[in-house]
């Protein structure tokens, strides 16, 4: 069974990210980066599914894919250090500035190419619920549509897995659904579905030496206008910080005095 995890490298501190005033895109250069925290849960869940398979005598394989600049290799190394079998980096200048649709398209082409090389379908695609920098939670479902497979979002637990189907708990309003799907399927996982493992030293050494192929537009057989900024129907017109509308004032003094002040203010406001 082949499990594939889509990950993203994001700024370690999303609040520290600056916006390029010309293109209205995020400036990602020169800031500390990490694997998107939600994606760590996705990697861990894939590794656990592989362990589940091997304990039932099936062979499992975990592959990891990301789209990003060349330095995104370090995110894939982290996944290999945690225990993933192999990884692919989708990187090309033409991919830059992609919105969620262009990103999902590029990822789908990467997955197709992996499937072509193995001659078999990927059984389960796992994504983190969303990235901490874009926060859209769109790429997973879009990718499932492009791959033509069902998707289950906000999965908080995998209940059971067979060769043909998977049963999960999916967070819903005020509770959760228990839902079953045939394979192949795409899952997006919630924070807290597991506790991601720390890489091992042997894993780190293996990751450092791992051959990670880099596929660009040519390898994926895509046209420049299908990917990156050119392939993105979304345009960011303006980025701004919301203006402060409310004003807080701290009332000080004895509890009685503060209470009297508060009542006065409320009376005046009415």
């Amino acid at each position: 069974m082949h499990v594939l995890v889509c990950i993203k490298q994001v700024p370690a501190d999303p609040s520290a990210v600056k916006v390029d005033r010309k293109t209205n895109t995020l400036i990602r250069e020169g800031i500390p980066v990490v694997v998107n925290p939600f994606d760590l849960f996705a990697i861990e869940e894939a590794l656990r599914l592989r362990e589940r398979m091997s304990s039932s005598g099936q062979k499992g394989r975990v592959s990891v894919i990301t789209m990003g600049p060349p330095q995104a290799r370090s995110a894939l190394e982290e996944a290999i250090a945690m225990g993933a079998d192999d990884a692919v980096l989708l990187s090309d200048r033409a991919f830059a500035g992609a919105d969620t649709l262009a990103t999902a398209y590029t990822l789908s082409r990467g997955i197709r190419r992996i499937e072509d090389s193995t001659g078999a379908k990927v059984d389960i695609v796992i994504c983190g619920r969303q990235s901490t920098d874009g926060d859209t939670a769109q790429v997973g479902p879009e990718l499932a549509e492009m791959l033509g497979i069902p998707h289950l979002v906000r999965v908080r637990k995998v209940e059971s897995l067979t060769r043909e189907s998977i049963r999960v708990e999916r967070i819903a309003d005020g509770g959760y659904d228990v839902i079953e799907s045939c394979l192949p399927v795409l899952l997006t996982v919630e924070k807290g579905i597991n506790q991601p493992r720390v890489p091992s030293l042997r894993g780190l050494m293996r990751a450092r030496k791992a051959g990670i192929p880099v596929w660009g537009a040519q390898e994926l057989g895509v046209e420049a206008q299908q990917v990156g900024l050119a392939g993105s129907p979304t345009r960011v017109i303006r980025v701004f910080s919301p203006e402060r509308q409310r004003r807080a004032e701290m009332l000080t003094g004895s509890p009685e005095a503060v209470a009297r002040l508060l009542v006065d203010r409320l009376m005046t406001a009415m």
Binding site: V198, P199, S200, L201, L204
Partner: protein
């Protein structure tokens, strides 16, 4: 300071530091308060391969040495010295097997120790045999293909939690230190029991227990080296593990300095941060300088051992005594810089001060360390004098 770590050493240090930050630090105060053994963290350390850094690859380790072990100890100790002690005690218990074990013993025990699947412990101290390790009263009597152990061990780190124990007993009390013999004893052996868990000043997440042997029969193949070699086994082991205690002390002291320096810039009195008063600034300067000196000495000794030096008892003792004295002084100063807050258990510096104290006591008190260093220096001086008398220059 740049200590020219190799890429692999950097990787080990970074991984230990990450586990310390992400997994140990958030738990440290709770484990200390609850006096709870950090099993979950031990599991993480096992999965990360860190238990095996000093174990050769043929026994499931990563093939590093004392220096790599020190790098891990320093980083873990920055987050919680109790956790670091539990980690280090396993190495202390297993080092005798690596140094003196037969091939069968190494194959049988070291891979599980390297993976963290089993913890080890080192059982030398007794109620009446602490610094005077030759005064051991636990007896081992040969009976056919077995030995029968009787006696009590005291203050054994990882006691009750560990699966594999290196136990020192005497086969003949009349022979003094030449009667001491080392054995491997597994948890669960009939006649091997654990006493109460001790309540300690510091390193409270680590487990310290009494071990009791009552007609405990162990197979002869669990003898380490030969009868009467136990004292050598213990001393050679401690020579190799004392830099680890030094590294622990460096880690505790570094944590105290980091906290004190940050606090000194934050705490405003008389209209400016207290760190801008020279009294505090100079304390910080001394703390930083002493820590760097302790680290440099510790690393040098660890590298000297790994480079294959034959005799390093003196240097190993120097690293331990210096770094632990630094840790004690620095943590006391850190509490002072924090003032009243430093004395409160809501703040982390009082724990560092409590934890630092043990590094001056265990694995040989600092008085014993000085009794190793002093005579050695004097012997070297006497040799030089004798050399000069013969007209030979000797350094």
């Amino acid at each position: 300071m740049d200590y020219s770590l190799t890429e692999e050493q950097r990787m080990i240090k970074d991984l230990a530091s990450r586990i310390a930050r992400e997994r140990i630090l958030p738990e440290a105060a709770r484990l200390d308060e609850a006096e709870e053994f950090p099993w979950e963290i031990m599991r993480v350390l096992g999965e990360s391969d860190l238990f095996g850094v000093w174990i050769p690859e043929e026994y499931g380790g990563l093939g590093g040495g004392v220096f790599e072990q020190c790098l891990v100890m320093e980083e873990l100790s920055r987050a919680c010295a109790g956790v670091a002690t539990s980690y280090a005690a396993s190495a202390l218990g297993a080092f005798p097997i690596l140094l003196f074990g037969t091939e069968e013993q190494k194959q049988k025990y070291l891979p599980d120790i390297a993976s963290g699947k089993r913890l080890a412990a080192f059982a030398l101290t007794e109620p009446d045999a602490g610094s005077d390790a030759g005064n051991i009263r636990t007896t081992a009597v040969r009976d056919g293909d077995s030995y029968i152990l009787n006696g009590t061990k005291q203050w054994i780190t990882n006691g009750g939690e560990a699966e594999v124990y290196t136990v020192f007993a005497t086969v003949d009390r009349d022979k003094g230190v030449r009667g001491i013999t080392a054995f491997i004893v597994e948890k669960g052996t009939p006649g091997f029991e654990f006493g109460k868990k001790e309540k300690k000043l510091g390193i409270r997440s680590s487990s310290t227990r009494e071990l009791a042997f009552r007609d405990c029969r162990i197979p002869r193949e669990n003898l380490l080296d030969r009868e009467g070699k136990g004292f050598i086994v213990a001393m050679r082991t401690l020579d190799r593990t004392r830099p680890g205690v030094a590294a622990q002390a460096v880690g505790i002291a570094q944590a105290a300095l980091d906290l004190a320096a940050a606090y000194a810039m934050e705490r405003v009195q008389f209209g400016k941060p207290v760190g801008e008063f020279q009294a505090i600034e100079h304390m910080i300067a001394d703390m930083a300088t002493q820590i760097e000196a302790a680290r440099a000495l510790t690393y040098s000794v660890a590298r000297m051992i790994d480079a294959g030096a034959r005799d390093f008892s003196k240097e190993s003792a120097m690293a331990k005594v210096f770094a632990s004295d630094v840790a004690m002084k620095v943590t006391v100063d850190a509490v002072q810089i924090f003032g009243g807050y430093g004395y409160m258990r809501d703040y982390p510096v009082e724990k560092l001060m409590r934890d630092a104290k043990v590094t001056q006591i265990y694995e040989g008190t600092n008085q014993i360390q000085r009794s190793i260093i002093g005579p050695q220096v004097l012997r070297e001086a006497a040799r030089r004098k004798a050399g000069q008398a013969k007209g030979i220059t000797n350094s």
